[in-house]
Symmetry: D3
Subunit: 246 residues, 6 copies
């Protein structure tokens, strides 16, 4: 089984971190391959960055599917371009917010998501609502720029801990969801520290992708995820012609 992991931002060091997290949980028969988007912002912080990350992310998924991937994961907590990817691809596609939230719901009735910047709170809340967890999940920001997670001299980890502590104290959170792909390496350590389940979306998505592939389940093509229609694309977008046009 071949699972494709796409980092929709253009920072390769973050891809490496994510890939490690994915590898550490993948099954014996699973090959994880990671790709970094080749165009777009170096980090995704809010709706604007998201918009410019989508075409590059779709390109990687299209190439990955042609290269034989059985499932794809979009490794950004905004689930950037997930609907477009599901329509484009014939293999199943997962977002890491979706995977984290679906997983947390199996082990806790109420949980809190700790994301990076305040500007990401509303996008994540929108996702939570859409995934049916609006009444169970609280969304918080730790005031951490995405790329600072990589920088040991930053106070990122300190701020993250403080926000987790607020969630446990004020939200009656039973579990914590880490709200950024760049936190994927921290889940086990924080779980041990706080004694509550801590969910990372990257590793959760790998296991859910294995689930879908093993069960033989692919995105339904009835409804909103029907394959894109063939049509002209003007300007620089031309290379991204739909991969499937029935």
């Amino acid at each position: 089984m071949h699972i494709l992991l796409v980092n929709p931002n253009t920072t390769a060091s973050m891809t490496a971190l994510i890939e490690d997290a994915a590898q550490s949980v993948a099954g014996l028969a699973t090959l994880v391959s990671a790709r970094t988007s080749r165009m777009g912002p170096v980090s995704i912080e809010g709706y604007y960055d998201e918009a410019f990350a989508v075409p590059g992310m779709l390109l990687e998924i299209a190439e990955g599917e042609r290269a034989g991937a059985d499932a794809a994961i979009i490794a950004c907590f905004d689930d950037t371009g997930l609907d477009a990817a599901r329509a484009m691809a014939s293999i199943p596609v997962l977002g890491i917010c979706e995977a984290a939230v679906a997983t947390a719901a199996l082990i806790a009735q109420r949980f809190s998501i700790v994301t990076t910047l305040e500007r990401s709170v509303m996008p994540v809340k929108g996702l939570v609502h859409r995934y049916g967890m609006a009444e169970r999940a609280t969304v918080r920001a730790a005031d951490i720029p995405v790329l600072s997670l990589d920088d040991p001299s930053s106070e990122a980890l300190t701020k993250l801990r403080m926000e987790i502590e607020r969630a446990l104290r004020d939200d009656q959170a039973e579990a914590i969801v880490l709200g950024c792909a760049g936190m994927a390496d921290l889940a086990r350590q924080l779980q041990d520290e706080y004694g509550v389940p801590v969910v990372d979306g990257v590793s959760a998505a790998v296991k859910l992708a294995e689930c879908l592939v093993t069960l033989g389940l692919r995105t339904s093509k009835r409804g909103g995820y029907a394959a894109p229609l063939t049509k002209p694309y003007l300007g620089m977008m031309a290379p991204f012609a739909p991969v499937s046009n029935k």
Copy 2:
């Protein structure tokens, strides 16, 4: 007052149709200028087309704002890229689904939205939910490709009428919302035919844009619509650096 109307698909004839609808309702002191996106699909039918239409649409809004626009309208019923545009621009930005739904809610308790293809039903339902109208609006597709609306030899208008009739009979619809920018010229005629209010989002958005400008209201920059952060963009996206970077 200068209102910018952006057609996020790349079909100029549709821009002309939309611009006419906008001009016909604009106030005496309002200048409407229309722009056609210069890159992306010729029509937007589903999530995939939407994803590729966003960067081109944002470029037009950024240029339009620099050219002095006081408000911008995204003239596609999927409200393609609305959140990104609100974050990027300092002028207010409106989607035509949002405008149509907000307007219909002022004159009817229940209404039906008739859009083009089945694949657009779920995206529009998602918007309707987000705009707080899930319990009041039904979404239907008339099975009309977007560009066929322009073609008098197609059966587009016949199919649209049939779907309106189903909505009036089966949904207890009190009003009809036309679910595609390409239907903007049909509202008055259909309203006369069926004797119920028929709402077109393009003209509704023009009036709501005038409302916001006159009231001195701009998108709040607290929260999810904070101005994008300055950061490197790799590859062909480079030209679209954020216009505002506080």
Copy 3:
């Protein structure tokens, strides 16, 4: 275009204040005429006052429609009698809570409404829910009697500012909605002070009324807003026979 503005309480000085706010935003081709209800309470503070304000308000709208108004606005934040007015009139009718909330939703994802007295919080919450904004809006009371807004020696403005500050700090409000017609003159000043959008329902309703009239949209008469049936009315209510009886 002739827009009728009805103050459903019987205090003429408040009508003057409201009319000024309306005039200041009306379009070049718009005539605003204001009427003060001739029977009922001097201010509307809670459900009981509302009930007694409705018949007088409906009388003014009926007379205003006969005098040629193209749209009517009920200038009380409880949207007092809005459903009855929509059923009675053939012209469109707007409430100022409805108008403010619909407008705020175009420029902010989360906003707070600051109304007068605690007893008005639940009525306004009921409206917010009905308008589909229950998840986006917080309702607060500043503990200001309605008529004190008119009295420069009162602490009304101080209390209002304190409550706005609480909303910005505790609700993550991105915009403020002023929750009383009597605050209509304060929006611009408070917007400048706090640097966030501040929405007044009276001026918002004027612009939305212009929107509906220009678009040729009237209240649908299918469903709950069907014209009243002709029937005997006993006692003092006799003069208010339905204006339309198809």
Copy 4:
């Protein structure tokens, strides 16, 4: 125990019918007294009639409370003026839609409400939503004018039966709620005919009123039901000065 039953329309024959239904279920120690409103419409069919029925209804409740009533019932399925009555009175007040819906919820998971005219469907749906039953109740109209229920030569009962049969067949209704005070005498007969629980709001309200009085529970005066503030009322409304002015 003294329970006041107010018919908010001005048709005395309907009051008699309602009073009979109430008496037939009242406890041994309960005195039911019925009053007919002395001003307003002869029947309440839609929002407009409702608006004019409220002041007369409030007058009867105020007088009834002064005459020693321990609880009051508003015997119209629109729960006309219920909030205002709760604010005005210090005794508990019940609406018959509220009572019927609360009672039906104790014996069925899904139920259908059959009301009179199509124009009443949306007002009743609004109530059902507010009472927390939007997902459990369907609202239907049998196309019966209210006063025709009194007329044996009308087809009212035939139409009511047809609509009940549709509800049982199409809504998966487990119980039927009769959606008009004028149907109060039909519940037992229809329950026997159809073999499913049939709930009448008038008799349900009598029992719930007994419940509140026996338990010593009165409307909370914290929040939206705080006693009205003393203030001048202009014009013909003067007699209805608030009965309680703390």
Copy 5:
């Protein structure tokens, strides 16, 4: 009229307390008989205890119905086994959380439920949601083990008062619901102390049971409450064969 009150835990002293509360509000023509479950936990604190309390509770209801009861009440605030009891019995069955919440909704727009232990908060929230009151009710725990309510030397009453005071201050609660059968004797006293309505579910359920019996309403057998199908039960459960097998 004969109302059966079942204490689903196995502590007889609590049954006595509950029976007293029930007797004190029962009508002149009502006989209340109380039964204590003969198997299961001595108190019900959370989902696990609930699960083991259900078979014993169902046995008592089955025996009570055979002994002539007209309605049954499950006197535990978790409404333990309510659905199973409704399916099994042909007489109506009420839960005390359900009864308390339905009653509180008649006298307050917002209320707070104060239950015993933190572990019961989510089960009670689940019930509140199901009864349609999620937006109106807050659930709090006073950190009181159920059986300590019986023990005058415990601090149970002090802790309960503190939590009620928090609810009044922080939740804008207009009324208090006591969230444990073991608090049934405290409602009147706390209502007098705090000057807001205080609702006890045991006494509320008695009055609602009288309501259903007088109105001739029984659980609908269409849908989820259809009588159990006859089938073999293995092991020790054999005695509880369904009482009705149509």
Copy 6:
């Protein structure tokens, strides 16, 4: 990794069928062991059967955990006793309705659940609501007794197909969820026949259980799933003393 599969009904042939489905998808390193409940009904059809199945099911999970299981699955589509099992066990526990619904949500926006008998529709709807999928899932019954699924001479499969066809035609279902553990062997075949994803909860639960175990996630013990308190259990329930009593 050792996954325990409990059939909460007492029919061993169904356990065998379920175990086969589970084995066929289990990972290379996963041992699946199945247990049949030793007390309770031979099939679970509605709330009553569910109630009596819970104690036996809990006993099997407790024994399975002591025998070294890393996760447990309750193989009945009513997710019978899931909350109690989560509170009791320290290993993670999954319901098959929960697993099926969470999985279907990853590959379709709208799906239909086809369960056995009409009496199970409302219990399953309750679960769907709780899992946040009320707006995305329709629940249907095929009128098939549970044990008839085992009987090749029954029309069970014909009826199931007819209901799937109705779901595809009338619900705009994009995927089908099989709503009974006894259908676990049919998913692949029906998926091939209908060309839409068909989800079986047993196999989905196995993969989700592997996901939780690999990620090191266990049920949070903060909140409603706190370990049961030690206390006396009267009567035949004595053997089921809580396994964990901190």
